[in-house]
C-alpha cells in the first residue's frame, strides 16, 4: 500500500502539490501492479475533499483527529501517519515537497530509521527502488536509491501535473484517533497570526521594483526612473556600480552584496545583468528588462524586454501611464 500525506488548505481543499503527489503515487501503484493508494489528512475532511481524493484514485482517506491535531506539531503528524502505516502495512510513505511535507516525512524517517528523499521529480524503477530528486536548489538532480521499507519521499512541486485517475478509487473515509505521546506535542504551534508586514525594507517586500544600472549615465540620470517608480508606487533598486559611483545610496543596491528581492515585477533598466546583480533579483516572478543590448544577460534571462535606451523608453512609458490614467 502507498500512503500519501495530503495537506488541506484553510478552505478545506486538498492543496495542488498534494494532488500532484497522489498523481505520482498512481504511477508507482501501476508499476507495482496496482498497489492501493491511501491518503492521510489532518482533521475531519469535508465530503468534497474525500470525493476529490477518490477521483484521484485514493482507496481510503485516513483522517487524523483528536486534540493532538488542534495545532501543528510535526512529531504528532508523523506519529499519526505511522500509526496508520503500521496497521495498513504500507511500503511507501509520500507527501508533497512542501515545508510541512518535508518536515513530517523527515520525522517519519527519523522514527523508522529509514532514509527519506526530499523533492523527488520521478521514480526510475521499483527494484531497485530508485528516484530522481532536486538538489542544489533544483540546479542539479540526484539519483537516489531507497532500498529500505517503507520508501519515504516527498514530491517536488510541479514535477508532475495533478490529474484525476481514469478510474476513481473507493474513497472510503476512515476516522483515526491515534494516541499521541506528550513528548510529540512539546514542539507545536502555540499561536497563528495574520502575517506581519515585512519590516526589512521597502525593496524586499515591494510588489514592483524599478531597477537602474550604469545605463542611467550619471547621478542626474535618474529623474525619469524615479518618476516611473512614483507612478508604480515602487521603490528604486540599483546595481553595484551605481552605488560604487556614488550616484545612489547603498541601501538601494540589489544583488549579492545588496538586497535580494522577489517582487511580482522587476524592471531593470540599463542593467546588463552581471551575475552579482542577478543573484539578488532572480526570484522575481516577472522581469521586464530595458536595455540597448539584446544579448545582455539581463535581457536573455528576463521574461519580457524592450530594446532601447532607457532615456527614451522610460519617458514614453511614463507618458503612456499618465495618458491611460487621465
Amino acid at each position: 500500500m502507498i500512503l500519501v500525506l495530503v495537506e488541506v488548505s484553510p478552505a478545506g481543499e486538498a492543496v495542488e502539490t498534494s494532488r500532484e503527489a497522489v498523481t505520482l503515487a498512481r504511477e508507482l501503484s501501476a508499476a507495482g501492479g496496482g498497489v492501493p493508494i491511501d491518503a492521510v489528512v489532518v482533521g475531519t475532511p469535508h465530503d468534497a475533499l474525500v470525493g476529490v481524493l477518490a477521483s484521484y484514485g485514493v482507496r481510503r482517506v485516513h483522517a487524523l483527529t483528536g486534540s493532538a491535531y488542534d495545532s501543528f506539531a510535526g512529531a504528532a503528524w508523523a506519529a499519526g501517519l505511522l500509526d496508520v502505516r503500521e496497521r495498513a502495512g504500507s511500503v511507501v510513505v509520500m507527501a508533497a515537497g512542501t515545508p510541512r511535507g518535508n518536515e513530517v516525512l523527515a520525522h517519519v524517517g527519523a522514527r523508522t530509521g529509514v532514509p527519506m528523499a526530499a523533492n523527488v521529480i520521478s521514480f526510475g524503477g521499483l527494484s531497485p527502488f530508485t528516484v530522481t530528486r532536486q538538489v542544489v536548489g533544483g540546479a542539479a538532480l540526484e539519483e537516489m536509491r531507497l532500498s529500505q521499507r517503507p520508501a519515504i519521499f516527498t514530491v517536488a512541486g510541479h514535477a508532475v501535473q495533478a490529474a484525476p485517475a481514469d478510474a476513481a478509487g473507493a474513497g472510503e473515509l476512515v476516522v483515526e484517533k491515534p494516541d499521541i505521546a506528550d513528548a510529540d506535542l512539546v514542539a507545536r504551534v502555540v499561536s497563528t497570526d495574520e502575517p506581519e508586514p515585512d519590516l526589512s525594507g521597502a525593496l524586499k517586500s515591494a510588489r514592483v521594483v524599478v531597477g537602474a544600472g550604469r545605463g542611467a549615465g550619471s547621478a542626474d540620470g535618474f529623474g525619469d526612473l524615479l518618476e516611473l517608480a512614483e507612478l508604480l508606487d515602487a521603490p528604486l533598486g540599483v546595481s553595484r556600480v551605481v552605488t560604487s559611483l556614488g550616484w545612489r545610496p547603498h541601501h538601494e543596491q540589489v544583488g549579492q552584496t545588496g538586497s535580494r528581492i522577489s517582487p511580482d515585477l522587476y524592471i531593470p533598466c540599463g542593467i546588463s545583468g552581471a551575475i552579482q546583480h542577478w543573484a539578488g533579483c532572480s526570484t522575481a516572478k516577472a522581469i521586464l528588462a530595458i536595455n540597448t543590448d539584446p544579448d545582455a544577460p539581463m535581457v536573455t534571462k528576463a521574461t519580457h524586454a524592450v530594446i532601447g535606451d532607457l532615456h527614451e523608453v522610460i519617458p514614453a512609458i511614463n507618458a503612456e501611464i499618465r495618458r491611460r490614467r487621465a
Binding site: 560604487s244 556614488g246 546588463s272 552581471a274 552579482q276 543590448d293 544579448d295
Partner: protein, 841 residues
C-alpha cells in the same frame, strides 16, 4: 544567437579596455570595415577590465611603460573619466626609502611631478592613517582613478560613429584559420565563431587572460598567465561615507606590505600583491555561466589574504575597524602576467595576426593607440620594443617558463628590484659549449635570452690585488649588488694584454638567395653592396627614422649575407628581416643561432695569440679591420671577423657549436703566456663599450631616437633605398632637438661620505639641480652608466638639450636624491678613450 559579418578588414577579438581602445584608434586612423567581437555581453564582458581597481600610478622605472601610461592618462582625461586623487607610496623601512629616492629619479627623468614627503604630510591628506607605521612617502599628485568600463564604451561609441565598426557581443571564437605562405610563413585568413565565420586578413587578439587560448588556435604562443590579485572591499566607513563621488582621499600604496588602500565611495578597497602567486591556466577560467561573479572574479581564498588584513588594519585601524564597516566584497581577481612583466604587442609569426595582451588598465588606451599606429604605419610613436611579441625566444614561449617566472616575480610587483637583478627560476635553458669550463673558472652567470653568460670570472680575483684602486671598488651595497670589481680588473687586463669573451648568445641568421642583396640593402642604412668578405656595422631603421636595431652584416658571397645581432633583441631582428623577404622570391632566412657559437678575442696581444694558433695571415695588411674570412685555427675552421665592440684589436670567431669548447680552450691556453684572461659580459657590454662611447640598442637606441641624435651619421647616405631613408634624409636637414653625449662624474662623494656610483636611469640636471628639457620636451636621463677603468672615471651616456651638448659643460646627476657634479666629455660618437681608434689597428 548573434551573427557576425562574413568579412572584415580587421577583426578585434575582445571588448575590454584594450579592444575598445583599438577599435577607436583603428577607425580614427582610417581603417574600414572593422569588426569587434567578444564572448561576453557589453559593456562588461567579464574580463579583467570589469573588476579592475582602476587606479593609475604614473611613475614606473621603465620609460616605455611610463610613456604608455602617460598617454593613457591623457586619453582618459580627454574622455572625462579620470578623477585625480593623488597617491602615496609609503615606506616602512629605510631600504624602501632608498627605493623611493630612486623612484624620484625616475619621476624626474620622465618629467612627472612627485615629491618625497613626511608621515605628517600624508596624515594631513589621509587623516585615518597611522603615521607611526611608516617613515616617509613618495607623493604623486597626478595619481588618479579611471572608469575603465565607461572609457571602453566611449571609445567603442566613437568608433561606431565613424560607421566603420560592427560590434558583435556574445559570440565566442572557436577557431583561427591560417594559410601557408612562401618560405614556410603563414597568414591569418579567417576567424571562426559561434556566430559564423569572418574572412579577414588582419586579426587582433585583445582577449586578456584568454589570449593564450586564442593564440593556440592559430599555433602561436602568447606567453602570459592568468594570475590572482586579491582585493576586498570594506565599508561603509563613516570617514568615507560623507565624501562626494568615488574618491576624495589619496590612494595609499603600502609598499613594504605589498598592499594598497583605495577609497571607492563609502568603501575602502584593500588590494594585495603579497600572497603566494596563484596562477591559473587560461583553459581553466570558468565560463560566464559557471562563474559566480564574472569569469575573472574567482572565489576569494581568505587564508591567503589574512596577513595583509592585519597589516592594512595596522595602518588604518580607525577606518577599517569602524562600527558597521564590513567586508562585503572580496575576490581573487584574475589579471595577466608575463615572464618579464611587459605586455605582449605586435604582429605574431602568423602574418596579419596581431596581439595586444597582458595590458593593465593604466596602459590600455595608450597601447590601443600605439598598436593601431603600428598596424597602420608599421611603427608607433612610442617605442614598444620591450613589449614586442617577437621578443620571445623559444624557451620563453613555454607555459612552464611563464609559470615559473611569474611565480618568482609576483611578489616583486611592489618589490625593490635592482636594475641588474637576475631571475632564479627556469635558468640553464641555453648553455654555451664551454659552459662547464666557465663554471670551473668561477663564472658568475647572468642570463640573456635564456643563455647563461659569464658576467665575470672569480678566477680573475687575483687581478684585484694587481690593479689596486684602479678597479674602482664600490663601497655601497646597492651600487655593488650584481657587480664585482673583477669586471674592471678583467677590463684592465684586456686593455693591457688580451681577453677571451664568450659571445654564444649572439643571434645569427643567414640571408641567401638571388634577392639577398636587395633584402639587406632595403633594411640596413649602411652600404651593403660591398666586396665579399667585408663586415658592415649598420643601424636598422623603421619608416619614421627611429632605430629598429643596430647590428653587423657580413657579406659571405654575392648572394649570401650573415647578420649578427644581440641575443636579447635577436628574435625581433629576425622577424624584421623575415618580414622584408620578397614574397615572390626564393631568398631565404636561416637561423644559425643554435649551430654557431661566437668567441671574441681582443686586446693588444690578440694578434699574437691568434697567429700562434693559425698559419693564416692575420696581420693588418693580410686581415684588415671590418673584413672577414674563414681561417683554420688548430684544425678548426672558423669564420673570423675583425671587428670590435670594446675598442681593441681583435676578432669575433664564429665556430660550429660542436667545436666551440675546443676553440675556447685553445684560445685560453695560447693566450695565457701573453697574459690573456677570460673576460665576462661586464667588460663586453659595459666597461669596454662605454669607454668607447659605443651605443647599445635598448639603452641609447630605440624607436624614438634618430641616427642624428645618436651622433651616428656618416658623411654620405647611400643611393639605394632603405626603410626609413626618407625620414633619415629629413633628419639630416633638420636642427637637432637632443644630442647623445658622454659625461664623466667629477665627484662621487655623498653627504654621508660614502662614494656612490650611478647605475643608469638617473636624471641629468643643472649643477644647481634645475631641470633640463630638450627640444622634444623630454628631460635628460642616464641611458647607460658604467666604469671606465682605463680612464679612471665613471661614465654616463645621456641625451642632452643642444645648448648643454658642449664639451666641458658642467652639470649634475641626481642619484638617490643627492646631486653629483658631472662634465660633458663628448658630444658625438667620439670616444673618450683612444679617440683616433689607434688600438683597433
Amino acid at each position: 544567437m548573434a551573427e557576425v559579418p562574413a568579412t572584415a578588414d580587421v577583426v578585434v577579438i575582445g571588448a575590454g579596455i584594450v579592444g575598445n581602445s583599438l577599435v577607436h584608434h583603428l577607425t580614427r586612423l582610417g581603417w574600414k570595415n572593422v569588426v569587434q567581437i567578444d564572448k561576453g555581453a557589453l559593456p562588461n564582458p567579464g574580463g579583467s577590465t570589469g573588476h579592475a581597481s582602476n587606479f593609475i600610478f604614473t611613475v614606473d622605472h621603465s620609460r616605455e611603460i611610463t610613456d604608455i601610461t602617460l598617454d593613457s592618462v591623457a586619453q582618459y582625461k580627454e574622455m572625462g573619466v579620470f578623477t585625480e586623487s593623488g597617491g602615496f607610496e609609503i615606506a616602512r623601512t629605510e631600504e624602501r626609502m632608498e627605493e623611493l629616492r630612486r623612484r624620484m629619479s625616475s619621476a624626474k627623468a620622465w618629467g612627472i611631478e612627485a615629491e618625497l614627503v613626511s608621515p605628517a604630510f600624508v596624515k594631513e591628506k589621509v587623516p585615518f592613517i597611522e603615521e607611526d607605521q611608516f617613515i616617509g612617502a613618495f607623493w604623486t599628485p597626478g595619481v588618479g582613478v579611471v572608469d575603465s568600463l565607461r572609457a571602453g564604451t566611449i571609445m567603442r561609441e566613437r568608433a561606431l560613429a565613424t560607421g566603420e565598426l560592427t560590434v558583435v557581443p556574445t559570440v565566442e571564437v572557436i577557431g583561427l584559420d591560417t594559410e601557408d605562405g612562401p618560405h614556410g610563413t603563414r597568414r591569418i585568413t579567417r576567424v571562426r565563431t559561434t556566430g559564423g565565420d569572418i574572412e579577414a586578413k588582419t586579426v587582433v587578439i585583445a582577449a586578456g587572460v584568454w589570449s593564450p587560448k586564442l593564440g593556440d588556435m592559430a599555433g602561436i604562443s602568447i606567453p602570459l598567465t592568468p594570475a590572482v590579485h586579491q582585493m576586498i572591499s570594506v565599508g561603509p566607513c563613516p570617514q568615507l561615507a560623507g565624501t562626494e563621488g568615488e574618491i576624495s582621499f589619496p590612494i595609499v600604496r603600502d609598499m613594504d606590505t605589498f598592499c594598497y588602500e583605495r577609497q571607492h565611495g563609502a568603501d575602502m578597497e584593500v588590494g594585495s600583491y603579497a600572497h603566494r602567486a596563484i596562477l591559473h591556466e587560461p583553459e581553466d577560467i570558468p565560463s560566464i555561466e559557471q562563474a559566480k561573479l564574472s569569469p575573472t572574479e574567482m572565489p576569494f581564498t581568505e587564508d591567503d589574504f589574512d596577513p595583509q588584513l592585519e597589516q592594512a588594519y595596522e595602518l588604518m585601524p580607525e577606518l577599517l575597524g569602524a562600527e558597521g564597516a564590513e567586508m562585503r566584497y572580496a575576490i581573487n581577481g584574475l589579471l595577466s602576467l608575463t615572464c618579464d612583466g611587459n605586455p605582449i604587442l605586435g604582429e605574431s609569426e602568423v602574418g596579419g595576426l596581431w596581439t595586444a595582451s597582458a595590458v593593465w588598465i593604466k596602459e590600455g588606451p595608450g597601447v590601443g593607440r600605439a598598436v593601431a599606429e603600428w598596424m597602420t604605419h608599421g611603427h608607433s610613436e612610442i617605442d614598444l620594443h620591450h613589449s614586442d611579441i617577437a621578443r620571445f625566444h623559444q624557451h620563453q614561449k613555454r607555459r612552464e617558463h611563464t609559470r615559473l617566472r611569474t611565480t618568482e616575480s609576483f611578489i616583486k610587483t611592489y618589490g625593490i628590484i635592482h636594475p641588474a637583478e637576475q631571475y632564479e627560476s627556469d635558468r640553464d635553458q641555453r648553455l654555451a659549449p664551454m659552459h662547464d669550463s666557465q663554471a670551473k673558472l668561477g663564472a658568475v652567470f647572468f642570463e640573456t635570452a635564456g643563455w647563461e653568460r659569464p658576467f665575470w670570472y672569480e678566477s680573475n680575483a687575483a687581478l684585484l690585488e694587481e690593479y689596486g684602486d684602479a678597479v674602482m671598488p664600490r663601497e655601497h651595497e646597492w651600487d655593488s649588488r650584481w657587480w664585482s670589481p673583477i669586471i674592471n680588473a678583467e677590463h684592465l687586463r684586456m686593455r693591457e694584454a688580451a681577453a677571451v669573451i664568450d659571445l654564444s648568445a649572439f643571434c645569427i641568421f643567414d640571408i641567401e638567395g638571388p634577392e639577398a642583396l636587395d633584402v639587406v640593402q632595403g633594411t640596413c642604412v649602411a652600404q651593403c653592396d660591398v666586396a665579399v668578405g667585408k663586415v658592415i656595422y649598420t643601424p636598422v631603421l623603421d619608416a619614421k627614422g627611429g632605430f629598429r636595431s643596430d647590428l653587423t652584416v657580413m657579406r659571405l658571397g654575392d648572394d649570401h649575407f650573415r647578420v649578427v645581432t644581440g641575443g636579447a633583441h635577436g628574435m625581433a631582428d629576425r622577424a624584421w628581416f623575415s618580414g622584408h623577404l620578397p614574397e615572390a622570391g626564393t631568398t631565404t632566412l636561416t637561423d644559425l643561432t643554435d649551430d654557431v657559437s661566437t668567441i671574441g678575442i681582443w686586446g693588444p696581444r690578440a694578434r699574437d695569440i691568434l697567429s700562434s694558433l693559425t698559419s693564416a695571415d692575420v696581420s693588418d695588411g693580410g686581415f684588415g679591420f671590418l673584413s672577414c674570412r674563414e681561417v683554420d685555427v688548430q684544425g678548426i675552421t672558423v669564420l673570423a671577423s675583425r671587428i670590435s665592440y670594446v675598442g681593441e684589436l681583435g676578432w669575433e670567431l664564429y665556430v660550429p657549436m660542436s667545436q666551440a669548447a675546443d676553440l675556447w680552450e685553445a684560445l685560453l691556453e695560447a693566450g695565457a703566456p701573453h697574459g690573456a684572461v677570460p673576460a665576462g659580459i661586464g667588460v663586453y657590454g659595459t666597461t669596454g663599450r662605454i669607454e668607447k662611447g659605443y651605443r647599445a640598442y635598448g639603452a641609447e637606441l630605440d624607436g624614438e631616437r634618430s641616427i642624428m641624435e645618436a651622433g651616428m651619421q656618416r658623411p654620405k647616405v647611400k643611393a639605394a633605398d632603405f626603410v626609413g631613408k626618407e625620414a633619415y634624409l629629413a633628419q639630416r636637414e633638420a636642427s637637432l632637438q637632443t644630442v647623445l653625449c658622454t659625461l664623466t662624474v667629477d665627484d662621487h662623494t655623498s653627504a654621508s661620505g660614502v662614494k656612490r656610483y650611478m647605475l643608469g636611469g638617473e636624471p641629468i640636471l643643472t649643477r644647481e639641480g634645475g631641470a633640463l628639457t630638450d627640444g622634444h620636451g623630454h628631460h635628460p636621463y642616464v641611458t647607460s652608466a658604467g666604469s671606465a677603468p682605463s680612464l679612471g672615471k665613471h661614465v654616463l651616456l645621456a641625451y642632452l638639450p643642444p645648448e648643454q651638448a658642449v664639451i666641458g659643460t658642467e652639470l649634475a646627476v641626481s642619484y638617490m636624491e643627492e646631486l653629483y657634479p658631472v662634465t660633458v666629455g663628448s658630444i658625438d660618437a667620439t670616444p673618450l678613450l683612444d679617440p683616433t681608434n689607434e688600438r683597433i689597428r
